[in-house]
C-alpha cells in the first residue's frame, strides 16, 4: 500500500508505529531524527511522513520546513506525533507546513484511522 517514513527518537514509539502500519500492509521506513529522515526522504518519495516533534539533532518542526523545500515533498502529507495538546506546537507545525497532527498517547487503531485521512 503506502510507503511511510516514521520518525521518532524513541525506539519504542517508532517500533509501535511501524509495527502497526506494517500490520496494515504499509511499507515503513524508520528514522531516529530529522537529519536521518531528511536523508531518507531525499532518496525516495514517501507517501506519508509521520514525525515526532521533540527530537535531538533536528526536531519535527524543522524537518517539515526542510521537507517542504524538496520538490518531491511539496504536497506529501506530513503528520506530527505530539503530546502537546495545547495549540502552540500545532500552530508551529502548521506554519512550518505540517499537514496535521496526532496527539499522543494514541492506540494503533487511532493511528490507522487517522492516517486514512491523508492516504489516498
Amino acid at each position: 500500500m503506502a510507503s511511510i517514513l516514521a520518525v521518532d527518537d524513541s525506539a519504542s514509539m517508532r517500533q509501535m508505529v511501524s509495527f502497526t502500519l506494517r500490520g496494515a500492509g504499509h511499507d515503513v521506513q524508520e528514522a531516529n531524527d530529522g537529519v536521518q529522515a531528511l536523508e531518507l526522504a531525499s532518496k525516495k518519495k514517501y507517501d506519508l511522513v509521520l514525525s515526532d516533534v521533540n527530537m535531538p539533532n533536528m526536531n519535527g518542526i524543522e524537518l517539515v520546513k526542510e521537507l517542504r523545500q524538496l520538490a518531491d515533498y511539496k504536497f506529501v502529507p506530513v503528520l506530527m506525533l505530539t503530546t502537546e495538546s495545547a495549540g502552540d506546537v500545532k500552530a508551529q507545525g502548521k506554519q512550518a507546513g505540517a499537514t496535521g497532527w496526532i496527539v499522543k498517547p494514541f492506540n494503533p487503531e487511532q493511528l490507522l484511522s487517522t492516517i486514512k485521512r491523508v492516504l489516498g
Binding site: 519504542s12 514509539m13 515526532d52 506529501v76 506530513v78 503530546t83 495538546s85 495549540g87 494514541f106
Partner: protein, 718 residues
C-alpha cells in the same frame, strides 16, 4: 484490529531507564544561576519521551506523574519560570521515583504511588504558586473551545467549507476530508456542493492552489464536534461555517443561498432531483458522494488491512536481561565465523585424501584454525564488554547527595569511563565501589573547616579512574582527604585483639588492617558508612571476582584504593604446573614470581611452619602434593620449583614439581558440577581432554594458616 502493545514494553523500559539516566546526569550538571538552555531541553525531551511512551503503552500512573514534571520543565524551558536549587532536588527525586515506578511495573507489580503522589503535590504547589497561566493543562483546541455543546438532537448540518488557497501545500486534501466525512455519516445522507466562483481564468490559474470551496449538507445526527474533528488540522487556515439544519428540506435551504448558484451546483441538484446517479468524485467538479461506493472501497481496504496476522506474543513474566551490542562487534563476529568456515572447508578437503606430502598444508591449516578460534573468542568476549561508565554513572548523584548530607563540598572526577569490562564483573563490582566511594566521602575527606585549617581547598576531590593493565582492569578510588590515621587504626586493632600489644607494624601493614573482618574506626556509626559492613566485605567481594584490592595512603594527602580485576570471569590466563602426575593451574594474575627452590633458604619456625627468606621478606611455604594428599611417601622432589603467589595481600610460596606452559583456560564451575573443594576454584578441560583443577590461591593460603599441615614436612622439600 487489535494490536498487542506489550511486545514493545521491554524496549520502552530500556529506553525510559536510559532517559532517566540522561535526566539525572543533566540535572546534576545544572547550576541554577546559569541554566543552559540545551540541558533543560535535553531533560525536557527525556521526560517528554517517557510520558509519551507511558501513555501509549498504558502506564497511566507514569504518564500522569511525568506530566506535572514536564509542565514545570516546560515553564522553565520557555522562560516563564527560573530554575531553582529546590526544583533540581525535586526533579532528581522524581527521577528516582519514576525509576522505582518503572521497575515495579516491569517486574509486574503495582508501583508505589504514595511517593509519586507526594512529589506530584509538590509540583502542583509550585505550578499553582505563580500566575503562569498558560500551563499545558488546556486540552481543548481553541477553535472548538466555546461551542462544545453537543448538538446530537439536530437533524443535520450545513457546512460552508472554504479552504485557504494553499491548503494542498500542507499535504491536506479536501477530497479526503470529504471522504472521511462520508465515513462519519455512514449510510446517512451527505451532499457535497462545489463552489467554483473563485476559479480564475485558465491563464492565471496556479495548479498548486485550491480555488474551490464547498457547501456540505449532512442529514445525520452526528455531533458538531465529530464533524469538526475532520477539519481539525485545517480549521485555523480555512473558513468553516456551521449552520444547524432543521427538518427543512435540502432543496429549499440551498435555494435560499445566493452564493451557490453555479452551473455545476445546479447540475448536481438537478441530477439529485431527477434521481440520476451522480458521478464519482473527480477533480474539483464534485457531485454527490455515493455512500455505497465509498463503503465498498473501504471494505476492500479493510480486508487488505486485516490480512497480515498479528503474531502471538510470548508471555512476559521474566524478561531476560539484555545488552546492547554495537553493530561493529556483531559484524566482526560474522566476519570471523566466515573465516572459520573457510578454514574448516579447507581442512575438510585436505583430510579427504591425505598423504604425508601434504603435511605442511595441514599444519598451515591448523595454525589458521587456531588463529580463527582465538579471534572468534576475542570477538565473543568483546560482546560482553561494556564501558565502565555504566558502573560509574551512579556516582555523580551519590556524591552530590552524600556531600550535601555531610556538609562537605566534593568534586567528583571520573577518568577512563570508556574502559571496557565484562558485564558480569561490572554488575558485581558496583556495590564494592559504592562502599569505597562512601567511605572516602565519609571517612576520607575532612570537613570544610578542617580542610581550610590545614591549608587545603574547601572542596575535596574524589577521583574514580579506570584503565587496563595487562589482562586486568584497574579501578582506583582516590581522595585528597586526611589519609589513613595509622595510630588510630593500630590502637583500634590492639583494642580488638587483632594485633598483639608488643608487635610493631610497618605503615603498609597497618593499612592492611582495615581489611580485617569487623574492623571499623568510625567512632560514631554514621548513616553513610561504618555500619559494621566493612572493608573486609569489599575485599571478599573483589576476591570472589578473582581480583584484589590494596590501599595506598599518605597522611594529610589522601588515600587511594586500587582494585585489580580480570577482564572476564569466563576465561582465565593460567600457569600450568605439574605435581606428581596431576596438572594444576594457577591464575596468572596471582603469581608474583617462580623460582628454583633452594634448601638453604628454608627456615623452620614455630610449630610445623616453614618459611623461606625471599630477599627481605619471609614467606610461608606450602607443598601442593601434601595439600592435596598426593604423596605416598616422603619422596624428594628432583628439582622442585617454587611458585610465589599473592592472595589476600599475603605472599605464599607453593612447591610444585615442574612448570608447564601458560595458556588461556575456560573456567568450569566445580560447585555446579560436583561440589566445593577446599583450595580449588574451578576446573578446566585441557587440549588433550584431561581435566585440570584451578588453584584458589587465597583459599590455599587460608588453609595453611589454619592447619599448618602443609608445612609439616616441608624441610624435606629440597
Amino acid at each position: 484490529m487489535s494490536i498487542d502493545l506489550s511486545q514493545f514494553h521491554q524496549i520502552f523500559f530500556e529506553e525510559s531507564f536510559e532517559g532517566l539516566d540522561v535526566m539525572e546526569s543533566q540535572l546534576l550538571e545544572l547550576q541554577p544561576q546559569e541554566v543552559d538552555a540545551e540541558s533543560v531541553n535535553t531533560i525536557f525531551r527525556a521526560a517528554h519521551s517517557i510520558k509519551g511512551g507511558a501513555g501509549t503503552f498504558g502506564f497511566m500512573q507514569v504518564s500522569e506523574f511525568t506530566h506535572v514534571l514536564e509542565t514545570l520543565l516546560d515553564e522553565i524551558r520557555s522562560g516563564t519560570r527560573t530554575m531553582q536549587r529546590s526544583y533540581i532536588d525535586l526533579f532528581l527525586q522524581s527521577v528516582d521515583c519514576l525509576r522505582a515506578m518503572l521497575s515495579s511495573i516491569q517486574a509486574g507489580s503495582e508501583p508505589d504511588m504514595e511517593r509519586a503522589a507526594t512529589l506530584k503535590g509538590s509540583f502542583e504547589n509550585i505550578l499553582q504558586g505563580t500566575s503562569a497561566a498558560d500551563s499545558a493543562e488546556q486540552d481543548l483546541p481553541s477553535d472548538t473551545g466555546n461551542t462544545t455543546t453537543a448538538d446530537v438532537t439536530e437533524s443535520g448540518w450545513r457546512i460552508i467549507f472554504n479552504p485557504s488557497e494553499d491548503i494542498l501545500q500542507t499535504g491536506n486534501e479536501p477530497f479526503r476530508m470529504l471522504r472521511e466525512l462520508q465515513e462519519l455519516v455512514g449510510a446517512d445522507y451527505l451532499t457535497v456542493i462545489p463552489v467554483t466562483d473563485n476559479l480564475p481564468e485558465f491563464t492565471s490559474l496556479t495548479p498548486e492552489n485550491c480555488y474551490l470551496s464547498w457547501i456540505l449538507e449532512i442529514r445525520s445526527n452526528v455531533s458538531r464536534d465529530d464533524i469538526a474533528s475532520v477539519f481539525e488540522w485545517v480549521a485555523d487556515d480555512c473558513h468553516i461555517d456551521y449552520q444547524p439544519l432543521c427538518a427543512a428540506p435540502l432543496k429549499n435551504t440551498h435555494d435560499d443561498t445566493p452564493e451557490i448558484r453555479t452551473g455545476a451546483e445546479q447540475k448536481s441538484a438537478a441530477e439529485r432531483e431527477n434521481g440520476i446517479p451522480p458521478a464519482e468524485i473527480d477533480s474539483g467538479r464534485t457531485a454527490t458522494l455515493i455512500p455505497e461506493k465509498i463503503s465498498e472501497a473501504l471494505e476492500i481496504a479493510a480486508a487488505q488491512k486485516s490480512k497480515p496476522s498479528v503474531s502471538a506474543r510470548t508471555a512476559r513474566s521474566s524478561e531476560p536481561s539484555s545488552i546492547r551490542v554495537s553493530i561493529d562487534k556483531v559484524d566482526s563476529l560474522i566476519n570471523m565465523v566466515g573465516e572459520l568456515v573457510i578454514t574448516q572447508s579447507m581442512l575438510g578437503e585436505l583430510g579427504q585424501d591425505f598423504d604425508m606430502s601434504r603435511l605442511i598444508r595441514l599444519q598451515e591449516g591448523l595454525t589458521q584454525l587456531e588463529q580463527n578460534t582465538r579471534e572468534l573468542q576475542e570477538s565473543v568476549m568483546k560482546i560482553r564488554m561494556m564501558p565502565i561508565s555504566f558502573a560509574f554513572s551512579r556516582f555523580p548523584r551519590l556524591v552530590r547527595d552524600l556531600g550535601s548530607q555531610l556538609g562537605k563540598q566534593v568534586n567528583l572526577v571520573m577518568l577512563g569511563e570508556n574502559t571496557e569490562l565484562d558485564k558480569t564483573v561490572m554488575e558485581k563490582i558496583g556495590d564494592p565501589l559504592v562502599h569505597l566511594v562512601r567511605n572516602s566521602l565519609d571517612h576520607g575527606l575532612e570537613t570544610t573547616e578542617q580542610r581550610l585549617a590545614s591549608g587545603k581547598s574547601a572542596e575535596g576531590t574524589i577521583t574514580l579512574n579506570a584503565y587496563h593493565q595487562g589482562g586486568n582492569i584497574v579501578i582506583e578510588v582516590k581522595d585528597d582527604g586526611a589519609g589513613l590515621n595509622e595510630e588510630r587504626i593500630l590502637h583500634k586493632a590492639r583494642q580488638k585483639g587483632l594485633v598483639p600489644e608488643t608487635q610493631e607494624l610497618s605503615s603498609e601493614e597497618i593499612h592492611q588492617l582495615i581489611f580485617l573482618p569487623g574492623f571499623s574506626t568510625a567512632d560514631v556509626v554514621s548513616d553513610i558508612s561504618g555500619r559494621g559492613v566493612g572493608m573486609d566485605v569489599v575485599r571478599r567481594n573483589i576476591a570472589e571476582l578473582n581480583g584484589n584490592i590494596e590501599v595506598k595512603s599518605v597522611r594529610g594527602k589522601g588515600s587511594t584504593f586500587i582494585i585489580r580485576l580480570p577482564l572476564t570471569l569466563a576465561i582465565l590466563d593460567g600457569q600450568l604446573v605439574k605435581v606428581k602426575n596431576e596438572t594444576y593451574i594457577f591464575p596468572l594474575v596471582s603469581i608474583v614470581e617462580s623460582i628454583q627452590l633452594q634448601k638453604r633458604s628454608l627456615n623452620h619456625v614455630t610449630g610445623s611452619q616453614y618459611v623461606m627468606k625471599l630477599r627481605d621478606e619471609y614467606i610461608p611455604i606450602i607443598r601442593l602434593d601434601e595439600f592435596f594428599n598426593l604423596r605416598s611417601n616422603d619422596e624428594e622432589f628432583e628439582n622442585p620449583m617454587l611458585v610465589v603467589v599473592e592472595g589476600d595481600n599475603e605472599k605464599v610460596g607453593i612447591v610444585v614439581d615442574d612448570l608447564l606452559g601458560q595458556q588461556q583456560v575456560v573456567i568450569k564451575s566445580l560447585e555446579q558440577n560436583y561440589q566445593r573443594v577446599a583450595g580449588i576454584s574451578g576446573a578446566t578441560i585441557l587440549g588433550d581432554g584431561t581435566v585440570a583443577l584451578i588453584i584458589d590461591v587465597s583459599d590455599v593460603g587460608k588453609n595453611l594458616e589454619k592447619s599448618g599441615k602443609g608445612q609439616s614436612r616441608s624441610e624435606q622439600a629440597a
